[in-house]
């Protein structure tokens, strides 16, 4: 008993410090508990508090995260703060977007009969799961240990399976939820298996310890094959979260099966969690290999390279063939994952720490996550704002490309949100998407990945076809009135329109203040090479032992 005391005390101290880093999550978690209980109330005004309270929780968590997020003990120490604030910010837009997704017909039944059947109500679960999932996203950004990383990733995904299944009252949603769940379980099993191999190969679960051990293995002649296998398995497993190619099959079906608002949610939250996780896992091996001493270790780089190329190409080519806007956006989200993987491959650049925005691939990924999130949420918000009653009396959202024909004339605000969002996703210069894509190109060029840059450029050109087609349909095509279908109306949920307008404004305004954001992402994308590693042979003398204290955050 007495022998165990010192190590216990040590654990207590480090756990205490770790808990300080989790105040935003703790705050969000408490809000979640309150939301869950309020959503079960008999009184409608109390039930209606759920969404605003979720917003308040996110604002609070975001402010706490911005004020007091310490650096984490991992090769990417400053990513935690950026990730948490990003989660809170986009989360707020998503609160507006997801309003009214569940319980709509149920509430009108309650109004008619005056009887509240608590079993049939889904509001409490939906909003609690929404917040749980965002808590998981924040935890993922701040993870410094494989176990925490796994739990955080699962906390992000598990609620989304249920949210997809209950997002509409159609069977298709249930089917989407089940598909998503089984493939998600497969992905989780794969990356957990990878984590087990990483632990087997290095003997640690802490990311910093793993980085140190990998460095020791490199000095001793090369990365242990168990470690390498673990890293590759983990990356491929996490590809499910980001919808990258070998694990992308669920994406279009799940997006189409869930409501448009939920699809907007899926396009951002699991993807952001996946990219935080992929960067954390990959950074344990680090970008200190290859001839330039700024590449990922051989096999890992090759695997990521192939995944990135396939993801971009498959996503873009299949998007050309779709006639459903949700499916187009789903394939476009696959393609965007491929673009972002280019940044992961490029790494923090030749100085090894990521001091320059145009050369730091990690900063580029973090910037792109923000811009992609804003733009894709805007596009899905437009779909979520339009609806019709179908013949069976159920509410049907706009989905077919014919539904958005002439939208700029019939619903000018929605039409313009759509145009701005898709042109942003395409990456045309004055808008946010361009400033997101540019550093991906420049960082990949400076990392010497010329073939990858060429493929990225070709893919951007392919993508132009279907993005411009969507913009053309909205702006130039005349409105189409089909005799078989009821005309589309705007939803009664004004906040969805607000979510769309916020996104569209973000696409324009964030591009203007992009410089400040770029600084933030450079700070967030700071990479700490393992102690003793020389990034460039000729500079070996002056930076032989970079430790966290000596690395100044670049501005």
């Amino acid at each position: 008993m007495t022998q165990a005391l010192p190590s216990t005390m040590l654990a207590a101290v480090s756990m205490g410090e770790k808990f300080v880093a989790m105040w935003p999550e703790a705050f969000l978690f408490i809000t979640t508990c309150v939301v869950m209980v309020l959503g079960l109330s008999k009184s409608l005004p109390v039930r209606r508090m759920c969404a605003p309270l979720a917003g308040v929780g996110l604002i609070g968590a975001g402010l706490i995260a911005a004020a007091m997020t310490p650096d984490t003990l991992c090769p990417l120490p400053s990513m935690a703060m950026y990730g948490k604030v990003l989660a809170a910010g986009i989360g707020l837009v998503l609160v507006c977007l997801l309003a009214g997704t569940v319980d709509r017909d149920f509430e009108s039944d309650v109004e008619r009969t005056g009887w509240f059947d608590v079993i049939r109500s889904k509001r409490a679960e939906f909003w609690a799961f929404f917040l749980f999932s965002l808590t998981g996203l924040m935890l993922t950004a701040g993870a410094d240990d494989l176990i925490l990383l796994f739990l955080a990733l699962e906390l992000t995904s598990l609620p989304t399976y249920v949210m997809v299944a209950i997002s509409t009252r159609r069977d298709r949603s249930m089917e989407a939820g089940v598909k998503y769940f089984f493939l998600g379980a497969l992905g989780a099993a794969m990356f957990l298996y990878g984590f087990a191999f990483i632990y087997g190969g290095t003997g640690h679960t802490g990311l910093q310890d793993i980085q140190r051990e990998v460095r020791a293995q490199v000095d001793a002649g090369g990365i242990n094959e168990l470690t390498m296998l673990g890293l590759v398995l983990a990356v491929v497993g996490i590809c499910f979260k980001i919808a990258a190619v070998p694990m992308h099959f669920y994406t279009p079906d799940v997006y189409q099966g869930s409501s448009a608002s939920m699809a907007g949610y899926l396009a951002f939250v699991p993807k952001a969690a996946g990219f935080f996780a992929i960067m954390l896992v990959v950074s344990c091996a680090g970008w200190g290999f290859g001839e330039s001493r700024a590449e990922l270790p051989g096999m890992l780089r090759d695997v990521l390279w192939i995944i990135a190329v396939l993801t971009m190409t498959v996503g873009n080519v299949l998007a050309l063939l779709q006639s459903s806007v949700k499916r187009i956006l789903a394939y476009s989200s696959i393609a965007h994952s491929g673009y972002m993987l280019v940044g992961v491959i490029a790494g923090p650049g030749l100085d090894g720490r990521g001091g320059e925005f145009t050369r730091n691939g990690l900063a580029a990924v973090l910037f792109y996550l923000l811009s992609y999130g804003v733009m894709t949420v805007g596009a899905f918000a437009v779909l979520a704002c339009l609806e019709r009653r179908s013949r069976d009396g159920e509410i049907e959202e706009a989905d077919h490309v014919a539904d958005i024909r002439g939208l700029c004339k019939t619903h000018p605000v929605l039409g313009w949100i759509m145009v701005v969002s898709v042109v942003g996703l395409l990456g045309l210069p004055p808008l946010l998407g361009f400033f997101g894509k540019l550093p991906l190109f420049t960082s990949a060029i400076s990392a010497g990945e010329i073939p990858l840059v060429v493929i990225l450029a070709i893919n951007s050109a392919i993508a132009a076809y279907y993005y411009l087609r969507l913009a053309y349909l909205c702006y130039i095509d005349p409105p189409e009135t089909s005799p078989n279908l009821a005309p589309l109306r705007a939803t009664p949920f004004g906040s969805r329109r607000v979510a769309g307008m916020l996104s569209a404004i973000g696409v324009v305004v964030l591009a203007v203040v992009g410089g400040k954001l770029a600084d933030a992402t450079v700070t967030a994308g700071r990479y700490i090479p393992p102690a003793g590693q020389t990034q460039q042979p000729e500079r070996a003398a002056d930076d032989d032992a970079p430790t966290p204290e000596h690395v100044v955050a670049p501005h």
């Binding site: 216990t8 005390m9 207590a12 101290v13 608590v118 242990n224 094959e225 168990l226």
Partner: protein
């Protein structure tokens, strides 16, 4: 793969795993083969029947169950997990210096954790999990 592990000299830590693997495979194979060799083979209507706790089975097996069974199972899990986490906490807590900040943090942490279980309980109560009618 095995050779790499050998070169690192870490193979000894994998011996228990290998042993367990061998035992598991042997046990499974032994049972299948032994029952094939020495087990009696008498098939009949009674043997093929659905097992229903020794009673004569009634109705079809493809029946919908009340969702409440799952709810009760989940509520059970919540409290089960709570107990599992309380044990290690209870064995470690007396080692801490009474009145120190650490002890307070530890106490607060477990209280917070138990409060979350209370939330789960309230949720179950409101959803009618404990109403057996």
């Amino acid at each position: 793969m095995i050779e790499v592990v050998l070169a690192d000299g870490a193979v000894s830590s994998y011996i228990p795993v290998m042993l367990l693997l061998t035992m598991a495979v042997t046990f499974g194979a032994f049972n299948v083969i032994a029952s094939r060799l020495i087990g009696p083979r008498r098939d009949g209507g009674t043997k093929g029947q659905t097992y229903e706790s020794g009673m004569a089975p009634i109705g079809t097996a493809r029946k919908r169950f009340n969702v409440r069974f799952y709810l009760i199972a989940m509520v059970f899990l919540v409290f089960d997990i709570e107990i599992i986490f309380l044990y290690p906490w209870a064995t470690t807590f007396p080692n801490l210096d009474p009145g120190s900040t650490n002890a307070q943090v530890w106490l607060f942490r477990i209280l917070f954790f138990m409060a979350t279980t209370v939330v789960a309980y309230i949720y179950g109560l409101r959803k009618g999990v404990f109403r057996f009618d």
